[in-house]
Symmetry: C2
Subunit: 212 residues, 2 copies
DNA sequence: GAATCTACCAACACGGTGTCGAGAAAGTCG
DNA sequence: CGACTTTCTCGACACCGTGTTGGTAGATTC
């Protein structure tokens, strides 16, 4: 959860007692509407009316439409970290677990599809959204980089590979890009049923395989 | 160049004789301003004044701000196709030429950095921009897929790999994402000086290397 | 029961978009 | 040449979305 200097939750002026239902109603309405149309097609008025308040009152709860989405992204940061850490514990076979990491990343993104889409849209114009999203990415990159390093230390990974962190960034960004293309039904896009297999192949060969 | 049913260049109402300098001035001003700030921070008025005309007159040449950027993207489609085809002729060693493809893709994107950024920003909200950009991607995907198929036919590529086209999509999208992160100075991002090396490693191992 | 705080909104100012209708300038043709 | 058309231009307008102001009603606190 991101808090400002006064300790209040993002966008909420006074965290003291209540009015929480309104705030939650706005967030729920935002998620609901993002399932129907893009962020750009949703106005503050839509959000306000959907939450049963007037537009000016909306500004009592959030400083802007963007702040609502930022709060939504916050949740994914937390959720992604939690789910990833859970998967770390049940590690077992290091080679086979790459696939599990990809699968979990896919599932996390898919579950919050509407918010991921909105995050991408907002990231195009909003610095804070970009920064926040980069925290999601950084979490995955660190996770993957650490595990590549472990494989290098174990002598299992290919020695000719680039530095673990550089490789991890490329692999995670590939996964993000491939998944995003699928979720927004872009074309060209990898076939959804093969996505995890394709990514798994590229990850494993890049980490363990020797170049010709 | 994209033309509508009447045969006119995108956005230009009457293609008959002239006024071309104005149109070119708008496009140049757009490219110039995109080097300074993002598309969202540029208004039609900025474009018009920069080209020495009033805002309503702008609408004589282009139906919207978006259409200007679309025209700019058009140029990249053409440019990218041309440069890629040139590189195809001087093929030589198939294994070593992957790196050359990546290098060319990097150079093309870098040369039109401002437009690529604008294309990404516009793609978040504009269907036509997304469709147009997907043509750029499709060009690269077909190119890479064909060459993977050739390597498979030659018996050089790994047989355990996913279908060539699926693999090509993932690899091209990785390259796009990695390059984009570098150009907009995102973090995490692959180190610019190592980008081509890292991508080359992943491509070659994914195409030729065996999974552990 | 006065002061304070929470929750609310009508009305406004502002900035951006896209259109309309009225010209000016420049080419075309009898 | 002078009427006619086409190209090009812009002032003024209608519209929409944002964020702010100023004020109110109800609950809470002392």
């Amino acid at each position: 959860m991101v808090r400002d200097m006064a300790g209040s939750v993002r966008g909420r002026r006074a965290p003291r007692v209540s009015g929480d239902e309104r705030e939650r109603a706005i967030l729920e309405e935002a998620e609901r509407l993002l399932g129907e149309r893009s962020l750009g097609e949703i106005s503050v008025d839509d959000l306000a009316r959907g939450a049963g308040i007037s537009r000016p009152t909306f500004y009592f709860y959030f400083p802007s439409k963007d702040a609502v989405v930022l709060t939504l992204i916050d949740r994914i940061v937390v959720e992604a970290d939690r789910v990833r850490d859970e998967s770390l514990q049940s590690q077992a076979d290091p080679v086979a677990s790459w696939r599990e990491s990809i699968r979990i990343m896919y599932a996390t993104f898919a579950e919050h599809g509407a918010t991921v889409r909105a995050a991408a849209e907002l990231g195009a114009t909003n610095d804070e959204a970009r920064a926040l999203w980069s925290r999601v990415m950084e979490g995955w990159v660190e996770h993957v980089a650490e595990r590549i390093e472990a494989e290098v230390a174990r002598g299992a990974a290919t020695p000719a590979a680039p530095p673990p962190r550089e490789l991890a960034i490329a692999l995670v960004q590939m996964a993000e890009r491939v998944m995003h293309a699928i979720f927004i039904a872009e074309s060209p896009a990898v076939d959804a049923t093969q996505a995890v297999d394709v990514l798994d192949h590229v990850w494993r060969t890049a980490i363990y395989g020797a170049a010709a």
